[in-house]
Symmetry: C2
Subunit: 215 residues, 2 copies
């Protein structure tokens, strides 16, 4: 198919596909005539993947390029594509401070208490520790029960992610979902937590009189 | 106290405090002499709050200003500061696409099935729906069990958040935690999910031979 059909089938504007090409995110098509290049189904899949990472996931072009390269390294173990994605997501913010040693230690203790087998370089330790430092800054020294609830929530989501992976067919499909699920699981959870919050605050903070509907 | 002591007590560089002042994020101190301004404990608290929102939460200065203004509107109901925070966080990304009607409908059905009392304008609906659209783009049409697991995770975290609020003293402390917890709960969960993922992938994807330790 030609590039215009590729854009149409992927449901992405043609200008976006051309942008992905210029940025080297999309593998080249097959030249079928001096002025014609043909694209196939893998390109449609790749365009959709790139869009999900860039637009919904908020990854930079550089980070997306790394993730895509890891996916294409067929010989490399899948866990590597996964690790690259985790690091690419952590690089999203430009100027992140180093979390306190105390907060890191609490996160590591939490993981150990859950029996999680994790390496010291996992960027999740710093991400969670920074959040704890921020909460502490306003005088909220998160109690164990609070952290355990968040760890339980994370375990529930991760189990669903892994179960979804097990249902995919070939290596490419598994790798794609691993990468996109890592990136999009966060906004999915964040959106649902907003809804759960609103529900809970309706009970905790009843609307003032004037906002209630007239009987 | 003087501005240098304010910075020190808040654990923030002096240059950052001056930046917050220039941006109008910090209420003015009390002028005690023609060339001297005094700050109090509420300023220390506020500096820490601003830092958590800007740096760890990744909010823009404009969004932080809105959140801070909502916190300071003492007469307004607390739920309003909460709503402003939710909207400020959603404005973090610049060019977000409109999610599909089908994805929105699935999120709304999920909330309804959980008995969540939420308004149509809650930005969480769009955030979660966009994530579903992204997953669908790579051929993963999230099954009900997957969404229910994420909703259960969100409910677990939201319950912990609300429980923490109930343990705070005055209105200011509640409002601060509500705002900061809304912003920082996401990276806390995201970090812990990375750890849970790594643990799960160790089982699913054993390391290749050469990476194993020698016996």
């Amino acid at each position: 198919m030609r590039v215009s059909e590729l854009a149409e089938r992927a449901g992405v504007p043609l200008s976006a596909v051309k942008y992905y090409q210029r940025e080297g995110l999309l593998p080249p098509g097959v030249r079928t005539a001096p002025n014609q290049v043909a694209y196939g189904d893998p390109h449609v899949r790749r365009v959709r993947l790139i869009r999900a990472l860039l637009e919904t996931g908020g990854l930079s072009v550089a980070a997306t390029k790394e993730v895509v390269a890891a996916l294409d390294a067929d010989a490399a173990p899948l866990a590597e594509a996964f690790g690259v994605t985790q690091r690419a997501m952590s690089a999203r913010r430009t100027q992140e401070s180093t979390p306190s040693a105390a907060a890191r230690a609490r996160v590591e203790a939490l993981a150990a208490a859950r029996g999680w087998n994790v390496t010291a370089g996992n960027p999740g330790v710093d991400a969670a520790a920074r959040a704890l430092d921020g909460l502490r800054a306003i005088g909220f020294d998160a109690p164990d029960a609070y952290l355990e609830a968040y760890a339980a929530a994370a375990a529930t989501a991760a189990a669903a992610d892994l179960h979804a992976l097990a249902g995919r067919g070939d290596r490419d499909a598994v790798a794609e979902l691993m990468v996109v699920g890592t990136v999009l699981g966060d906004p999915l959870f964040a959106g649902l937590r907003r809804l759960a919050h609103e529900d809970a605050t309706h009970a905790l903070l009843p609307a003032p009189e004037q906002e209630r509907a007239e009987p």
